[in-house]
Symmetry: C2
């Protein structure tokens, strides 16, 4: 009979389910904005029943927080990984870092939607705000370390200002590329980014990077 067949399922560990729900949440937000991430939609995408979400997350706000935390963690570790395969020379390391931030997969239309979807929560929820703050400052400190390693002499105040400026350039160009991807030709943004960061720091970064084919 086709009436009232109860859904069959497998028992899973808490870790697996939580991660599936978080992934589903992020997918939905990037696809259709925060409004699309309803409890029911998340449940369906995670192949689970709405009730189970309440079992693992006290409230939907809780799930949202966890999703943001997870997103930030991913971005942070991704940033670190770029440097693992980078050359040892300070200028080349910085150049590789900048270029990687302005090319796919970092430049990705869906990434901006995801990022924008959380903006409002960042401003309202103190917990989320703190995660945002820590991530942002961590990224900037990493950039500042790369700049400090360059063969120049610069005091702390100048390093700070340069790091803020370079971070601004990267963020801004990243934004432009995500928002209007068809407005730029391939690698144009990365080249502009390298030239600009180089100009801010008073050096040539363009020759440090091989044009990847």
């Amino acid at each position: 009979m086709m009436t009232g067949e109860r859904k069959s399922y497998r028992r899973e560990g808490q870790e697996v389910r939580r991660e599936a729900m978080i992934a589903a949440t992020l997918d939905l937000i990037s696809e259709g904005g925060i409004a699309a991430a309803t409890v029911r939609a998340i449940a369906e995408k995670a192949d689970v029943t709405p009730g189970l979400i309440r079992h693992y997350f006290k409230t939907k706000e809780d799930l949202t927080r966890a999703a943001y935390q997870s997103l930030m963690d991913k971005m942070t570790t991704a940033n670190g990984r770029v440097l693992d395969t980078a050359p040892a020379a300070p200028a080349a390391r910085l150049a590789a870092f900048v270029a990687a931030s302005l090319r796919p997969p970092v430049v990705d239309p869906s990434a901006m939607g995801l990022w924008a979807g959380f903006i409002h929560q960042v401003q309202q929820d103190p917990l989320i705000r703190e995660v945002h703050r820590a991530t942002y400052l961590g990224y900037r400190d990493l950039l500042q370390d790369l700049i400090a390693a360059l063969p120049r002499q610069a005091d702390a105040a100048r390093l700070r200002a340069e790091a803020i400026a370079c971070n601004g350039v990267i963020d801004g160009l990243w934004l432009e590329a995500c928002a209007l991807p068809e407005a730029f030709v391939k690698d144009e943004l990365a080249e502009i980014g390298l030239r600009s960061v180089g100009a801010i720091l008073g050096m040539d970064l363009l020759t440090e990077v091989e044009t990847k084919t």
Copy 2:
């Protein structure tokens, strides 16, 4: 008697009502994100009944579009006005433009929330997307004109790249300042912006601007 008193009202022109509804929409989005801009909330803030919204806007999506258009118009004309009171010297004009973009009232926590709230609509609705595109390119062209007026010689391709880069710096710094206003001291960002744009263009813009008290 306190039963069933019908709301008293004044008849208004179509212009007045539409503008009030648009303003209410923008206020609500900036305060509480796109989710807070419900038809009922908009109506209350505009001191009007939900039904009237439907009378002036065929659908809520229509109102959203009109609100975005209005927002972009305001930003565009505000940008133009800065240049009206600016000096005549090209470098000073550019410097004034850059500095103004990185200080209040352009730098405003609520502005970013507003901007972010529309991001998703920009990506999905072709009409809104076109408005966004036109506004963005208009701003960049204005910047490019300011750069082109500088006493240098530069070909078209270089001008384009420089305009993109400068726009990126301004956007990125604007974003940083809006997102974490307490992370910077007063005028720090404007100074960094002037220094960075100057570095990209190979000139000194800092001396072009008086520090406003």
